[in-house]
Symmetry: C2
Subunit: 657 residues, 2 copies
């Protein structure tokens, strides 16, 4: 639709009223941003955004990302006014209350139309880059007739000041993602006050330096907004639109100040704002004519949906497209043949190399897989013959050179996973999961099938030294809810863990892989890793010891068990490639594996804190609770006690007591 | 000195030879960067760098930071050739070996002259920003006669591509830190290949957009390097010098390619490089005349040291300056008076507010303290009346508006702590420790007294919801070696924890503080937190239960104990404000607090994994192993089981078994 400014003003004021009233009712929240961006958002949602409130999962809808997630009342207002089934007006009344869908920050798992969870600043925009990548890739694969949409982002100064912004826009600029438009809410205010306190940056100049097109508009002039958004859709690069706005616009005494940023306006100022805005309606009431304008505007582009449905119905690619958007894996034998062949063989490879071998099969069989690395391709072993580079000249490619941008990569992976139609994975050293940590957390919170390939997973990294050697990272990742942390022991477990990562649609995975070569330990069994842990070796002599180990330390546990057996001490070895999946097993399985009547010993070349859960206070935890050092791996394993020579006497000593 | 180009060339080739030979001997390492930057570094170290190899701790020395730490052989070569006591030539022969000081990446705790540990990309430059801040602050306090030096950084494309670079240069630009010079090794190569693969950025344009001066030079033309470095010293802003170099310069068949980046050149190419460079000397041998030139060059500015010594001796501020540079706290009664007054009072405040009250006293008493926040000043309660803003117009200020830059802030704090003379602290929400996590780790590795104020430390944050509610963060920080993680329960423990943070010179601290108000639990005792945990309440009835809790859950533990006692079940309450300090106590103290003959229960509103260390497999771990939700705090604590009503029955049930 193309409404007159006066009508648009009333429609935008509905956003302002709902926002300030909901924040006031909750006595908590951020009214300033929704009130400041109400005009821009109203024009975008009624004239430009391609969406259909009646089918919120329409695959070819534009994605709208409120990167400045603290302004959540903006999107709740937009969704409600546009006629989405939720949030209802009661949901909005219930803003920030237990059990309601209108959380303090928008959560993708609570409301359709919220494309991703935002709030941690900078990540919304960075996920939008991933969405725009997925769109271009699927466009290249399925053509304009099935995939041709934009990703719109509303971002504030915080999103632009965070480091991840640099990574995200560098990636988008180099890939020339011209379907990505960022609307920068340029209001000169942060929580602490004027932006002058902390920055003097010429933001558009920086975006241009990164290969973006930059535009500007007066954020309270509908004609100017319309012009700028129109120009944005014509660009051949990603676009930053600087929207000059007044934070808290409409609150006569507080607008333009940080007082409106993160606190309710207060009853008096809300009343004064009603006066200023000419909004003479009770709280949470939107007059029928304004609501009607909104509902009509929301359908501006919904008609395109019917045409798209026709094209999909007629497309020879329909089944494949629907499979991919549903996130289902393709039918076929998967890696069954190779798995059988590996079981019968004897591969002595690093698990990062094993991962490459598995990926070679998987990427050939599953076109959904899009890989990449944060400039460690040869070390992470993430590239395969099936994955050509994904570049500005070849969006059909399936391998992303992410550059030295771990956080940006992880967020882009999340964005791709949330967009759907692709299954993204990306590699870096495990230690640099620290850089990407909050994006890994957001993958877990958002139920996204993001797969993080984290190699060089212990002091086995060797010479690069303590800055590059993970110590606390494996255990620390295990603390993140809804994240499966895999640490496979050999090629067989690596193959199993990759399959599990793919099968868990609503859970991200971290695959922790070795730099160093490992012997093959398994020659039988199928998908034993699915239970998280299993008995790899059963005691020959009377069982007195159960050693539980992960990854590279499973072979060491086997060696210890052999020595113990030779001294007449029976020892089970339990391999635990995934603690989270083991936790999900029933009590009897867990007790049977880790029985009360044996000394339990954990071996993992990392933090011991946490292992008492399985070995008890009377058990032995063999690990590393200090930083590593620079030396060849074998020297380090010896120095830090990861040899049978050093472990077996401790076990013997313990059982002799 | 001002050597002729031909002599400089030989001196630079000594760097190249040592670098390629050491990497070859170790069969591991990064020859490309040292060989590419040898010319720039040689000129810098012999003509510009203010340092004294005979007094590596001279307070007014220039700081040199090799941000591209993988090129560690560059700094090892420079230190050795300049005549530092270490590394010796044998140390260099021992590159990357166990026990040697020449680690894979430079470690500040292994070698004088290594100002900070680098390797995790981007952080060296970001720490250098902190060093330059400390320098300007101390200059403002002590004057040009005692403090007037520069911070020089060598950075590669990786350092510049990382997100933290954006945060660091934004901070430096806004603060106009003109004593900071970054030498960018512009060689067009990353590990994966040409920089074109991942970036199209106009880097100098970005730096200018952030308020920097940018210069350029041909990195293999000594005259041009000299000109650029000279101009850099005249700038009124921080300076980026683009040094156009050839990676692996001198290796005739591999230079200019990623093959030289992270792998030994190989014997043949090393031999060919010797030919190309005209370096006809055996490995690890530097001819006497070249060494002599180097030693002479290194003393170029050492003469200034004697003048400085004279000025210090004559200065009325000498004692104070020396105290501060030694990192000692000022003499005085500290917070003794206020502590006594708080003990006798009854403050019901959030621990973030208690922290502000403590800081008000500490910042008045200790001029070394420089605070700040990543744009959450009013929420972190980090600003006090004694700390005026630190701005480009007032470097004497002691409060930094870091902007929305958590990682950059944490790294700058590390840089300040490593520079010395100041004790930095900075605040953000605990959840955003995720963003800064690797800098917190580097603080711990580097033995830096960095203090991180992390507020809103649980679901008690309330309405902002799961993206902002820490769950795994407290336990996850505890996994980092050599980091003291404090979670005080009331104003008394908050005061104790702040004192402990200041007293531990070689250990960084994370103070986890509540948003919500907490009752005062302690009215007696002195510094009980020093042992990490202590008995806050002793069972009245026969002891059957010991509840161990931290922070906001200690009051809940007290309530549970009260209920248990009323049912005739004796219950101790142990407050554990610092797990790390408790771990350091002797076994008898630990066993006395957490005896084997009682049911042990942990209560902490976060991950339970890890608590089995103290409560055993038979104990109860009350915590939160899922993401939170958006609602008022009290609703969340009830929903997730943090009430005596929900906990006491679990305890009764357990002891009845």
């Amino acid at each position: 639709m193309n409404y007159e400014p006066a009508r648009l003003q009333q429609m935008a004021n509905a956003v302002r009223a709902l926002s300030m009233d909901a924040v006031q009712a909750a006595n908590s929240g951020h009214p300033g941003m929704p009130m400041g961006m109400a005009d821009v958002a109203t024009l975008l949602w009624t004239e430009f955004l391609k969406h259909d409130p009646e089918d919120t999962h329409w695959a070819d809808r534009d994605r709208f990302v409120l990167s400045a997630g603290h302004g959540s009342m903006l999107i709740y207002s937009l969704l409600h006014l546009s006629g989405y089934a939720h949030p209802t007006i009661d949901d909005i009344r219930n803003f920030r209350q237990l059990g309601g869908p209108c959380a303090g920050h928008p959560e993708n798992f609570l409301l359709d139309g919220v494309e991703c969870t935002t709030g941690p600043l900078g990540q919304g925009l960075a996920m939008a880059v991933g969405m725009a990548m997925a769109e271009r890739h699927l466009n290249a694969v399925f053509g304009n007739e099935l995939v041709d949409h934009r990703t719109w982002v509303v971002a504030g100064d915080g999103c632009l000041m965070e480091g991840i912004n640099h990574e995200a826009i560098g990636l988008a600029g180099n890939l020339q993602l011209n379907r990505l438009v960022v609307l920068w809410d340029d209001n000169n205010i942060t929580i602490d006050g004027s932006t002058d306190l902390s920055t003097c940056e010429d933001i558009p100049a920086r975006y241009r330096a990164a290969g973006w097109t930059t535009l500007e508009c007066e954020g309270h002039d509908f004609g100017d907004i319309r012009r700028a958004l129109g120009e944005a859709t014509l660009a051949d690069r990603p676009v930053l639109v600087r929207c000059r706005t007044v934070i808290g616009k409409g609150a006569p005494n507080k607008q333009g100040t940080s007082a409106t940023h993160g606190s309710p306006l207060g009853d008096d100022e809300v009343a004064a704002a009603r006066e200023t805005l000419g909004w003479n309606h009770p709280a949470f009431e939107v007059p029928a004519d304004i609501l009607s304008d909104w509902r009509e505007g929301a359908k501006t582009r919904a008609t395109e949906h019917a045409d798209w449905d026709d094209r999909l119905a007629a497309s020879p690619n329909r089944a494949e497209f629907e499979r991919r958007m549903a996130g289902d894996l393709p039918e076929g034998k998967g890696i069954a043949d190779e798995f059988a062949s590996w079981l019968s063989g004897d591969q002595k490879v690093a698990t990062r190399k094993a991962s490459e071998m598995v990926l070679s099969v998987l990427t050939a069989a599953i076109p959904d897989l899009i890989g990449g690395s944060a400039d460690l391709t040869g070390s992470n072993n993430t590239k395969t013959a099936s994955t050509e580079p994904f570049t500005k000249n070849n969006y059909a490619g399936r391998y992303v050179y992410y550059g030295i941008r771990e956080f940006g990569m992880a967020a882009a992976i999340n964005g791709m996973a949330l967009h759907g139609g692709v299954i993204p994975y990306g590699g870096t050293f495990l230690i640099f999961s620290d850089y990407a940590r909050n994006a890994i957390r957001l993958a877990a919170l958002q139920l996204a099938r993001s797969i993080f390939v984290l190699t060089h997973d212990s002091i086995g990294l060797g010479e690069d030294g303590p800055t590059h050697q993970p110590v606390e990272q494996v255990m620390s990742l295990r603390l993140i809810p809804n994240l499966n942390v895999f640490r496979p022991a050999d090629i067989i477990e690596t193959a199993e863990c990759w399959q599990l990562a793919l099968q868990h649609k609503g859970t991200p995975s971290a695959l922790c892989l070795t730099r160093q070569g490992l012997p093959q330990l398994r020659h039988e069994g199928e998908m034993l890793s699915a239970k998280g842990a299993y008995r790899l070796h059963a005691a020959q002599a009377e069982r007195k010891v159960v050693i539980v180990a992960t990854g590279s330390e499973v072979a060491l546990a086997m060696e210890c068990a052999k020595r113990l057996e030779s001294e007449g001490v029976g020892a089970d070895v339990v391999s635990m490639p995934c603690m989270e999946l083991f936790e999900a097993q029933d009590a009897s399985y867990r007790a049977e594996l880790l029985p009360a009547d044996a000394l339990k010993v954990s071996i993992e070349a990392g933090s011991t804190l946490g292992w008492e859960r399985y070995v008890g206070q009377d058990g032995l935890t063999i690990g590393l609770d200090r930083f590593g050092a620079s030396a060849p791996a074998e020297d380090l394993f010896d120095r830090f006690g990861f040899t049978a020579d050093k472990i077996v006497p401790q076990i013997m000593n313990k059982i002799s007591k």
